[in-house]
Symmetry: C2
Subunit: 494 residues, 2 copies
């Protein structure tokens, strides 16, 4: 057995252990009775400590050095070796007491945040958040030094490699300028039109669930490799051969669950399309969180909200829910599913204003990291920032700085992924339309095969072989080009 | 930290890892889409190998010796230490290549058995079963030597400590004599009565499921610590704070699912009642498989089929399913749920003939272990044995030697637990009736609290503090006394 073989065998073992963790995590959200929570926490802790043991085993350093002295000729294997090195660098970069403090303080802070958000009381969580950010800064510092990056770039790289804070800064500045010009015009046009006709419920949950599952499978997701269940917070989990989608239903509105399921289906299709030959190896994994978000959004935002697909979806919805046909006319559905509106809550935002929410958080994260912004000043800065970006001021902290879990769980550097993914989705869709002439004809008949085939070849099957910009270059011929996203918005909204 | 503390910390870690395995196992049976099977197999293998690593860590031998040199004064802790020693003896008794061969050949044999059973073709599985039994004999030999027991006693002890093959031999001989006398008389009496009125279906699955859940919770099982789901083979899994019951439904017959769920509920209540102070320690676990079966059967056979409970159940069923009231009259329900009938299939057997199925297997297992019976001679011996015990001959091997998975998965020494458990259930119920005057009044109102309270105090809360006979002595004042089971059968059937 060569050093490289030993490394991949160990990586596979670690990935398999993480699969177990992932299924248990799905179970905790979708199935577990409340009374199992404490024991499940212990199970996660034991699995995490065993995983940490595998990731930092003393033999790894020698095997990495030996393999690097004579690296594999195959480019996939060579990249895999580089990723194994990077994973080892991360796993060994943090002192044990920092890892433990992050887990403990992160957990405490998340618990306090739940109460603080319910009471809209930022002061209640401010001390713990300050403590947590101190630890996150130490972590970012250590990662940055080990990887030769700035602390914030090292955190971004945790979630998406191949794109930097400097890249994002330029992209977001450009988008901010675009939004200042385009948003009022879109709103004016939208207001000049009659209000859409709302479908009348109630829409029974089991009917919605069957519809969601049917449409999810229609995209090309295989029934024998997936499930659809319910949880408070929708997500896509499980493992590449057994993906688990969840959503929640409201009997007043079917659109949220349906678009949510199609979003998660995009994530699921990506997992299903990863290269099997490198399953359970770093190079066989998804390329990062921005890459992942591009896949959920290309299904949800680009395909499912397209004129073409709405022509298929309208009659399908009418057949499913019955009643008056008018709300299900494709043009009416378009008005409903593509409504632009300035709001306080990121997860409820339309695709045009969504980046404003991300820009705000991206800027604050960097200022918090350098110390230019104090935790105590966050609520004020938030109100000012929202006013500046979207012209609205949240009535309370629950609808402002307390709305997202990320920071309170110690997650920093993740937010840019959402909007970089949205932009990549537009760029990928434009390229797919160029490469595959029948793409929209397919969608208008509910046929995702032309789009999915292109995504599998150009994107899914590439695993983690490339960083973000190089992956887009491979798939579309150029690095991330936000002009495609702006062009998409102009075409759809103006 | 003392040596004993180090041992218990490691035991808790291992138990927690096994909990993760248990939830994944439930998922594999109740939730997992087919396409996840291969990955799940890998996940189990990695977890098993990590668990083996924890169970055989080199530090354990030193810590055990150190703790035993100065054993804890507390009797629970002292017993826990003895059980930790026994677990270590087992974990280190088998050479690695035997463990691997057992896993590999056991898995192969089980796969071949599935096909052989479907084709009713014993010859197809005979060579692999012969190979597997050779390995099982080696294992029994090694366990026996390490534990100072005969090979077969060492296998029985794997599933239930505190009762030997010699004990079971005497008990079963006595039962065989009883059955030869009582069974024809029961059949004569049964045949002299008019046939019971069968409830008319269809019984919708979701209505059955709601009924099963309602009655399962009525026993005292807590909703926030349990689930009820569906699987091909009903079982009780999960963890003590998160028990997962499964069953399957047929729209023709609600009785099987209902009694099945009450059976699994008995297992679940036992897990819920184990001593929390010793959670994740050997002494805090269930006392063995016969002990476990006594708890499922005291709920299903003793309580749920009692005259008292049927008075509550009849109206409940009629309210649930509607239609004609006559089939739900308690006396009629009694005839339906307590029908004695000589059959080929163990899992379908009534409580009176069930031990005959176990006696047959128990005798064959010992003869296979000593070599007095060759694998090739099993089908013939089976036909002869069934004829001798129950006066019937199975038409094929699928309804004979191929019906149960146990042997084909390398499980030997388990079968006696079923009937020892049934006998213990009768003994426990008799003792509970003596100790708790209002027990049957409670059951006649669907109130299990008097029975459950007694079981919790006398049995559940004792964990693994005692072996089987001592546990019964603690709860009822005497070791296993099969006379109580015979008295129960006489009272119920004659």
């Amino acid at each position: 057995m060569t050093a490289y073989d030993r490394l991949t065998a160990r990586a596979a073992r670690l990935a398999t252990l993480n699969e177990a963790q992932s299924v248990l995590s799905w179970d905790a959200s979708a199935m577990m009775p409340k009374g199992g929570a404490a024991a499940r926490g212990d199970q996660f802790a034991v699995l995490a400590s065993l995983a940490h043991g595998l990731a930092t085993a003393p033999e790894l350093a020698d095997d990495l050095a030996e393999a690097e002295a004579n690296p594999p000729a195959d480019p996939w294997q060579a990249e895999n070796l580089r990723l194994l090195r990077a994973a080892h660098t991360r796993a060994t970069a943090l002192p044990n007491d920092l890892v433990e403090a992050l887990a403990r303080v992160g957990n405490d802070c998340e618990q306090i945040w739940r109460g603080a958000r319910a009471a809209s009381d930022f002061a209640a969580v401010q001390p713990k958040l300050t403590e947590l950010f101190g630890l996150v800064r130490e972590k970012a510092q250590a990662y940055g030094e080990a990887l030769g990056m700035s602390p914030y770039d090292a955190m971004m790289d945790t979630y998406q490699r191949g794109i930097t804070a400097a890249d994002a800064t330029a992209i977001f500045a450009e988008y901010e300028a675009f939004l200042r010009d385009a948003l009022p015009r879109v709103e004016e046009l939208q207001n000049s039109r009659p209000a859409p006709i709302q479908p009348q419920g109630p829409f029974p949950e089991d009917v919605q669930e069957a519809l969601c599952r049917r449409l999810s499978l229609r995209t090309g997701l295989e029934a024998e490799h997936s499930r659809l269940d319910r949880s408070t917070h929708p997500f896509c989990g499980g493992t590449p051969t057994d993906v688990r989608i969840t959503t929640r239903y409201s009997t007043d509105d079917f659109g949220r669950a349906l678009m949510g399921v199609l979003h998660e289906t995009g994530h699921a299709l990506y997992e299903r399309g990863l290269p099997e030959a490198f399953a359970r190896q770093p190079v066989g994994e998804a390329a990062g969180m921005a890459a992942h978000e591009s896949q959920s959004l290309i299904i949800e935002m680009q395909a499912a909200r397209s004129d073409a697909f709405l022509r298929f979806l309208g009659p399908e919805l009418h057949k499913t829910f019955g009643g008056d046909a008018a709300p299900y006319a494709p043009e009416n559905l378009a008005c409903i599913t593509r409504r632009v509106s300035r709001g306080f809550i990121r997860v409820d935002a339309d695709e045009m204003t969504y980046p404003a929410h991300v820009i705000l958080r991206f800027r604050f994260e960097q200022a918090l990291m350098t110390g230019d912004l104090a935790v105590a000043d966050l609520p004020g800065a938030w109100a000012e920032g929202m006013q500046n970006l979207l012209g609205i001021t949240p009535p309370d902290d629950a609808q402002g700085v307390l709305q997202d879990i990320h920071w309170y769980a110690g997650i920093m550097g993740y937010f840019p992924s959402y909007s970089l993914g949205a932009m990549a989705a537009a760029q990928l869709m434009a390229a797919a339309r160029r490469d595959v002439p029948g793409l929209d004809d397919g969608l208008s008949q509910g046929d995702f095969a032309p789009l999915l085939g292109w995504l599998r070849t150009k994107f899914h099957s590439q695993g983690s072989r490339y960083g973000f910009n190089d992956l887009l270059r491979h798939a579309t011929g150029k690095k991330l080009d936000p002009a495609d996203f702006r062009a998409h918005l102009m075409a759809r909204y103006l």
